[in-house]
Amino acid sequence: MATMTLLKAINQTLFEQMRKDDNVVLYGEDAGYEGGVFRVTAGLQKEFGKDRVFDTPISEAAIMGSAIGMAAAGLRPITEIQFSGFMFPGYNQIATHMARMHNRSRGKYKMPIVVRMPYGGGVRALEHHSESLETLFAHIPGLKLVIPSTPYDAKGLLTSAIQDDDPVIFMEPKKIYRAFKQEVPEEEYKIPLGKAKVVQKGTDVTVVSWGAMMVETQKAIKALEDENISVELIDLRTISPIDTETIIKSVKKTGRFLVAHEAVKTLGIGAELISRVNEGAFFHLEAMPTRITGHDITVPLPKGERHQTVDATRIAEEIKKLARFE
């Protein structure tokens, strides 16, 4: 078994799935010859040729729209949006067609499309390069939304996404593309979509997070080691559909719930999770369900970004408060 970064795990998975299925094609802005601005797709065009792995004009709408046509004609396109902040011109196609074509055609046209896009802040980037827009996809019926937080999960989830017959938005936490390595099996394996992962078992507080925020959450838990707080940590992994069952089971045990996400507060995924906790575990709650999120502001440029960042310190404070609430 090789150890590799999250980025490398995605790259390896793309190779594996393209070798396995001739109907898989991959394309996006600079995704072909250069291998993408982050090199996630490096080497693919060389192995699979310019017809299956290709560069596109700067046309997010046409990238998404063409994927719909390809899927209708039997291909399984993997598309790349260079940064999630640039997805808006393509959002029309995603929301008005990709998510609906199967329903609209009453099952005739399946849409086995993966839309990959790096997301999230903390990388000292230009405007529109740091957003966390998961809510905008999770709110659309017909889409699935995945955000991995480890190299191992990235491979298993991406494999499932590529083999899924529904459109899957695959948001990649670019801040941790190369942050750490993990052992990743060389053979194919799948992690089912819609299943959260209990990363650490505990009895006092349930903490849910995903993507790059998992790193901060784990740091926070580590910082609390001497505080005698037993945290159950859940990596949501699939944002849509949400694995309500795993969360409710945990909250019934702990009675305390915290969700931490990068995205802005209002109508964020945190709001949805808290609703579900209220619906499913209300009589088990010992403290009010809590969220830590970005503020409802535009992501600041790098010099001011620290004001928006949800970090381990903030998460640790909240966990402590929740655990001690009586």
Binding site: R52, S59, M64, S66, A72, L75, Q93, T244
Partner: protein, 361 residues
């Protein structure tokens, strides 16, 4: 070559028939067998009767909002007759004549406008469903064409859009995308002079819409869209290019929407009766009937018999649609995903339980 001979930048429009159905451009009169000519004509007549009846049904409160095609039938049957059955049809939302020509049952087309998604499922036909958001279908056509080229399938794509749609960014992205990969797509702009109330002159400053092709490095030609023979001939050439791997072609069909934008629209607000009369004189159906009569393929008796047959067929079809069961709860949930999520299964079961209880009362 029509695509070379007619310069859209100079405003040259290609046509074969005059408004009286006489061939005025002998060099380019396409050689079409009699059966195909008759199929083209009959399809136009069926579409016209289905439109007229649907307007009546709508006014009687039996039909929902729909977008009549009347006036544009020639711009649709010409291209469809020039294409192969396995070529794809990517529609906007006013393509009833094209759909009927392709073999889509009228019952299904009515069912769609009657408010039931089952009307969009064309099992054995290469047709995409009605595309409501203006302009966004061109990149779907490009994607289908990409798949066809990659898999060497010899399937081309005919995509329809309106004059209003050419103002949309999606038109540009889709056409450009098709052009840079030399994809087998024929994009047909049905310039019916209006985007709801907004005239063609507000869609673009360009003298013709066909000339937009220049910017994409592809051929473009303006065609008399009320001349089915001209539309056939131009599309035939464009499909030949597509098949030979030479890439997309843009055809502007100059036509006119004789009816309202949809049944919710009142065109008398924005256009004069004189203008409508002017275009009625150029009606593609009348013109084509005269052409067929001149060729001894059609006569008054045949016309009367056809009118009678289709009127009955259309009325019977609509009655069948009215008798069809309403979509069930299962139907509206089950197609959201190819594989329904656990979450949605729960929502569906909870809803069905409530539904059964309330219906049991």
């Amino acid at each position: 070559m029509i695509l070379d001979a007619y310069d859209s930048l100079k405003g040259e429009m290609f046509g074969v028939l005059d408004p009286d159905g006489k061939v005025v451009n002998k060099d380019y009169e396409p050689k079409i067998d009699d059966d195909t000519l008759l199929k083209m004509y009959k399809t136009m007549v069926l579409a016209r009767i289905a439109d007229t009846k649907a307007l009546q049904y709508q006014r009687q409160g039996r039909m929902l909002t729909f977008a009549p095609v009347m006036g544009q039938e020639g711009a649709q049957v010409g291209p469809l007759a020039a294409s192969k059955q396995k070529d794809w049809l990517v529609q906007a939302f006013r393509e009833m004549a094209a759909l009927l020509y392709k073999g889509a049952p009228l019952k299904q087309l009515y069912l769609y406008w009657y408010g039931n998604e089952m009307g969009s499922r064309f099992d054995d036909l290469n047709i995409l469903p009605v595309n409501v958001p203006i302009g966004s279908q061109i990149s779907h056509a490009a994607g289908i064409a990409y798949a066809s080229k990659l898999k060497k399938r010899d399937e081309s794509v005919i995509a329809f859009i309106g004059d209003g749609g050419t103002a949309h960014g999606e038109f540009h992205e889709g056409l450009n995308f098709a052009a840079v990969y030399d994809l087998p797509v024929v994009t047909i702009i049905q310039n019916n002079q209006y985007a709801i109330s907004t005239p063609r002159s507000m869609a673009s400053k360009a003298k013709t819409l066909a000339q937009k092709a220049v910017g994409y490095g592809i051929p473009g030609v303006q065609v008399d869209g009320n001349d089915p023979l001209a539309m056939y001939a131009a599309t035939k050439e464009a499909l030949k290019r597509a098949k030979e791997g030479k890439g997309p072609t843009l055809i502007e069909a100059v036509t006119y929407r004789l009816g309202p934008h949809t049944t919710s629209d009142d065109p008398s607000i924005y256009r004069s009766e004189e203008e409508v009369k002017e275009w009625q004189a150029k009606d593609p159906i009348t013109r084509f009937r005269k052409y067929l009569s001149n060729r001894k393929l059609w006569n008054k008796d045949k016309e009367e018999a056809l009118q009678e047959e289709y009127k009955k067929f259309v009325a019977d079809t609509f009655k069948e649609v009215e008798k069809m069961p309403l979509p069930t709860a299962d139907e509206v949930f089950d197609y959201t995903y190819a594989n329904m999520t656990e979450e949605l299964k729960k929502q569906k079961e909870a809803y069905k339980k409530r539904l059964n209880e309330s219906e049991g009362e």
